[in-house]
C-alpha cells in the first residue's frame, strides 16, 4: 500500500494524464464501437450514393479552402516577418473574432440586399449579380473564401514563429550568396521548410473544416447541405431513418477527413519535391512582399468591414435598400439583449474564465510537479493531437452517447468537461512555447543556489512568464467563449453559451437584435486582448 502511495506521489503528473488519456480513449472507443456495431452496410451504401453530392461538395470546398488559407497565410507571414515594426497582438485580436459573428457578418456583406449589393447599386443601379444557394460554384466560392480568410490569422501567427525558428533571414542570405534570386530563396527554400513545419496547424485546420457547423450552415451551400450540417440534422431528428443515417455520416466524415489529410500531405510532398529542384534565376529580386501586403490589407479590411456593418445593423432602426447608411438609429436591439440575455452573457464569461484558469493551472501543475518534463510534454502532445485530429462534432456525439450511458454525472458536468478538453490543446501548445522561450540559465542558477522548485516557480518563472500566462488565458478564454457545438450536441440545447444564443437569434429574431447579440459576443475577448496588449506595451518583464 505504501509502495502504491509512493508510486502515485512520485508520478502524480503521469497518473493525472493517464486518467485524461483514458477518458479520451474511452470517448473515441465509444464512437468506434457505436459506428461499427450499429452500422448496416447496405444502409450505408445507399446513403453513400444519395449523399455523393454533399460528400464531394464538403470534400472539395474544405480542401480548396485549406490550400487557399495556407497560400495567403504564407504570403502575409513573409510580408510581416520582413516588416520590422510589426506587432503580432493585432493578429490575436483577429483570431479572437467569433466564428458566428464572422459568418453572420459575411452574410450581411453578400446578401442580395447586403452591404456589397448596396455599394454595387450605388455605382451600377439595381442589376445586382445573383448569388445562388443551390450548391453550385458561386455559393461554394463564398464559403471557400470566407473560411480560408477566417483561418489566415491563426496560420499567420503560428507561421511567424516558424519563420523565426527556422531562421528565414539567414536562409535568404545563404541563397543570395549562392547567386540565386530572392524568389528562389522564398519558393525553393523558405516556403518548403515553412510548409513542412506547419504540418500540425494545417492538420488542425483540416479537421476544423470537416467538423465546423457555423460556416457550413450559414455560408455553405444549402441544396444539398454539407455533411457537417447533415450530422447535426440527424442528431436532432426524431425520424428513425434520419437518426440511423448518423452512423453513415460519421463514417463518411472520418473517411473524408482522413482522405483530405492524405491528399493534402501528398500535395505538400509533391510541391516541396518540385520546388526544391527549381531555380528561379530570371526573376530579379521579386520577393512577393506586395502580394503579401495586398492580402494582409484584404484580411484586415474584411474583418473591419464586418465589424462596421454589424455595429451599424445593431443600432439601425430602419435601413432601406439601396442606401449606404441607416436612416434612423435606436438601441432597441441592445435593450432586448440586455433585458433577456444579460445573465447568460455574464455566466458564459464566468464559465469561460473559470475553465481557462483551471486549464492553465492544470497544465502548469502537471509540468511543475513532474521530474521528467520531456515525457509530460510528449504525453500532453499525444492527448492534444487525439482531441484535435478527431472532428469535433464526432467527438462530441460520442461524449453525448457516453453521457446517456453513464448517468452518474449531470449534463452540466459533461458540458464543462467537453469545453475543458477543447481548451487543453491550445493551453498546452502556447505554454510549451513559453517554457521553451524561457532562458534555462535562470533555472539552473536557482537550482545551484538550492532554491526549491516551488519557490523557483513563484519567484523566477511566474514573474518572467506573467505576460505569456495572461496571453494564454486570453486565447483560452476566447476559444472557450466561442465554443459552439457543445451546446448543440452534448446538451441538445439544454445548456449553452452566449454564442449559441446568437446563432438562434440570427435564424429567428430581427436583424437588429441578432446584430446586437453578435456585437456583444465580440466584446469580452476584444476587451481582454486590449488589456493584454496595453500591458505588453507598458509593462515589460
Amino acid at each position: 500500500m505504501n509502495g502504491l502511495r509512493h508510486l502515485i506521489k512520485s508520478n502524480f503528473s503521469y497518473w493525472i494524464l493517464l486518467v485524461l488519456f483514458g477518458v479520451i480513449a474511452l470517448v473515441i472507443g465509444n464512437i468506434c464501437y457505436q459506428v461499427i456495431s450499429k452500422l448496416d452496410t447496405n444502409f450505408f451504401l445507399i446513403h453513400f450514393n444519395d449523399l455523393l453530392t454533399s460528400i464531394s461538395i464538403t470534400f472539395f470546398n474544405n480542401i480548396i479552402a485549406t490550400i487557399l488559407a495556407v497560400i495567403i497565410a504564407f504570403l502575409i507571414t513573409n510580408y510581416l516577418y520582413n516588416k520590422k515594426s510589426f506587432k503580432s497582438s493585432f493578429l490575436i485580436i483577429l483570431i479572437s473574432f467569433p466564428h458566428i459573428s464572422y459568418c453572420i457578418g459575411i452574410i450581411y456583406l453578400f446578401a442580395t440586399s447586403g452591404f456589397f449589393a448596396r455599394l454595387f447599386a450605388l455605382f451600377y443601379g439595381n442589376d445586382i449579380p445573383f448569388i445562388s444557394e443551390r450548391g453550385d460554384a458561386s455559393s461554394s466560392l463564398i464559403y471557400i473564401i470566407s473560411l480560408a480568410l477566417r483561418e489566415v490569422p491563426f496560420l499567420v501567427l503560428i507561421g511567424l514563429s516558424v519563420l523565426k525558428k527556422i531562421n528565414a533571414l539567414q536562409i535568404q542570405k545563404q541563397v543570395l550568396v549562392l547567386g540565386h534570386s530572392n524568389l528562389s530563396a522564398l519558393l525553393c527554400c523558405i516556403f518548403p521548410i515553412w510548409l513542412k513545419s506547419m504540418t500540425l496547424p494545417i492538420l488542425i485546420i483540416v479537421t476544423f473544416c470537416f467538423s465546423n457547423y457555423e460556416f457550413s450552415s450559414i455560408l455553405g451551400p444549402q441544396f444539398p447541405h454539407m455533411i457537417n450540417v447533415k450530422i447535426i440534422d440527424s442528431w436532432y431528428s426524431t425520424n428513425f431513418n434520419l437518426a440511423r443515417q448518423m452512423n453513415s455520416l460519421i463514417i463518411i466524415t472520418i473517411l473524408s477527413s482522413i482522405l483530405a489529410l492524405i491528399t493534402l500531405y501528398t500535395l505538400m510532398q509533391i510541391l516541396i519535391g518540385y520546388l526544391k529542384n527549381q531555380k528561379f534565376l530570371g526573376f530579379g529580386n521579386y520577393n512577393l512582399f506586395s502580394l503579401g501586403k495586398i492580402f494582409y490589407f484584404i484580411v484586415i479590411a474584411l474583418f473591419m468591414i464586418i465589424l462596421f456593418v454589424t455595429s451599424l445593423l445593431s443600432i439601425s432602426e430602419s435601413w432601406f435598400f439601396p442606401t449606404i447608411m441607416p436612416s434612423s438609429f435606436s438601441l432597441r436591439g441592445f435593450d432586448y439583449m440586455v433585458s433577456n440575455y444579460l445573465w447568460l452573457f455574464f455566466s458564459s464569461i464566468f464559465i469561460s474564465s473559470i475553465i481557462s484558469i483551471l486549464c492553465l493551472l492544470f497544465v502548469v501543475i502537471l509540468i511543475e510537479t513532474s521530474k521528467d518534463t520531456k515525457n509530460i510534454y510528449k504525453f500532453l502532445f499525444v492527448i492534444s493531437l487525439m482531441i484535435l485530429v478527431i472532428p469535433q462534432n464526432i467527438m462530441l456525439i460520442s461524449i453525448a452517447n457516453l453521457m446517456e450511458q453513464l448517468t452518474l454525472f449531470s449534463v452540466s458536468l459533461w458540458f464543462y468537461f467537453s469545453l475543458f478538453i477543447y481548451i487543453v490543446p491550445y493551453t498546452y501548445f502556447m505554454l510549451k512555447q513559453s517554457y521553451d522561450d524561457l532562458n534555462p540559465q535562470y533555472i539552473h542558477s536557482s537550482d545551484i543556489l538550492g532554491i526549491t522548485r516551488f519557490k523557483s516557480f513563484f519567484l523566477i518563472k511566474l514573474p518572467m512568464m506573467f505576460n505569456d500566462f495572461l496571453l494564454i488565458f486570453g486565447v483560452s478564454f476566447s476559444v472557450c467563449f466561442y465554443q459552439f457545438l457543445q451546446g448543440i450536441i452534448v446538451t441538445k440545447g439544454e445548456r449553452g453559451l452566449f454564442n449559441n444564443e446568437v446563432f438562434i437569434l440570427f435564424s429567428g429574431e430581427s436583424i437588429q437584435t441578432a446584430s446586437a447579440g453578435s456585437m456583444m459576443n465580440f466584446l469580452p475577448a476584444a476587451l481582454i486582448f486590449m488589456i493584454i496588449s496595453l500591458r505588453y506595451r507598458y509593462v515589460r518583464v
Binding site: Q174, V175, L176, V177, L178, S181, C188, I193, K276
Partner: protein, 204 residues
C-alpha cells in the same frame, strides 16, 4: 578581380576600418587577419552586399573593374562562405549541392559526387542534413561553394571545427579547386597555419 577602394566602416561613432584599399587579382588567394572585433566578418559581408543596420559604410567595391555598390547580393558575382553556413534542411546532401550549381546540366550530379569523393564524403550523398556531424557539415558547405564556380570568393574561418588530419585534407582540396577556378579569394583566418601565402596578407 576584386578591388576595394577607400573602405571605411563605423559602428556608431567607433571606426572599425579606416581608408582600406586592396586589389585581389584572378586566381590570387589573400588572407584577412586581425584582432577579434576588428571588423573582418563585417568587411566580407559588406563586399558581399549584406549590410548590417548598426554599421555605417563608405567606399567603393569593384568586381572586374565595375562598381557593384548599388547591386543586390545575388547580382554582384561575389560568393561567400559564412562562419555559420547553413545547409538547407529540406534537401539532402546531393540536393544541396545541385541547388548551388548555377545551371541545370546533365553531368551536374556526377560532378557533385566526384567532389564529394575527393573529400571522402561520397557515402553521405543521400543523407539527411540533420544526421551530419559538425565537421561533415562544414566540409559540405565548402564543396557547395566550390561547385558554384565563383569568380570572387569570400570565406570566413573555413577550417574551424576540423581535426588536424581532416583539416589538411580539406585545405588541400579547397586550395587545389579554387586555384583551378581562377577565382579571386579572400579568406578570414585567426590561425597562422591557414595562411596560404605569406606575402598575400591584409591586416586590419
Amino acid at each position: 578581380m576584386l578591388e576595394c577602394k577607400n573602405l571605411n566602416i563605423y559602428k556608431e561613432d567607433i571606426i572599425l576600418i579606416e581608408n582600406k584599399s586592396f586589389i585581389i587579382q584572378k586566381s590570387e588567394i589573400y588572407t584577412l587577419t586581425g584582432m577579434s572585433g576588428a571588423g573582418k566578418s563585417t568587411l566580407l559581408k559588406y563586399i558581399c552586399g549584406i549590410e548590417q543596420k548598426s554599421f555605417t559604410y563608405k567606399g567603393e567595391i569593384l568586381i572586374n573593374q565595375q562598381s557593384v555598390n548599388h547591386l543586390p547580393t545575388n547580382q554582384r558575382g561575389v560568393r561567400m562562405i559564412f562562419q555559420n553556413d547553413l545547409l538547407f534542411p529540406h534537401m539532402n546532401v546531393i540536393e544541396n549541392l545541385l541547388f548551388a550549381m548555377p545551371l541545370k546540366e546533365k553531368n551536374n550530379k556526377e560532378e557533385a559526387l566526384t567532389l564529394l569523393s575527393q573529400l571522402q564524403l561520397d557515402h553521405l550523398s543521400y543523407k539527411n542534413i540533420n544526421t551530419l556531424s559538425g565537421g561533415e557539415y562544414s566540409r559540405i558547405c565548402l564543396v557547395r561553394m566550390i561547385i558554384n564556380k565563383p569568380n570572387v570568393l569570400l570565406v570566413d574561418e573555413p577550417f574551424n571545427n576540423l581535426d588536424k588530419k581532416t583539416k589538411n585534407i580539406t585545405k588541400d582540396f579547397f586550395y587545389k579547386n579554387i586555384s583551378e577556378m581562377n577565382c579571386a579569394t579572400l579568406i578570414v583566418s585567426h590561425n597562422l597555419e591557414d595562411i596560404y601565402s605569406n606575402d598575400k596578407i591584409i591586416k586590419l
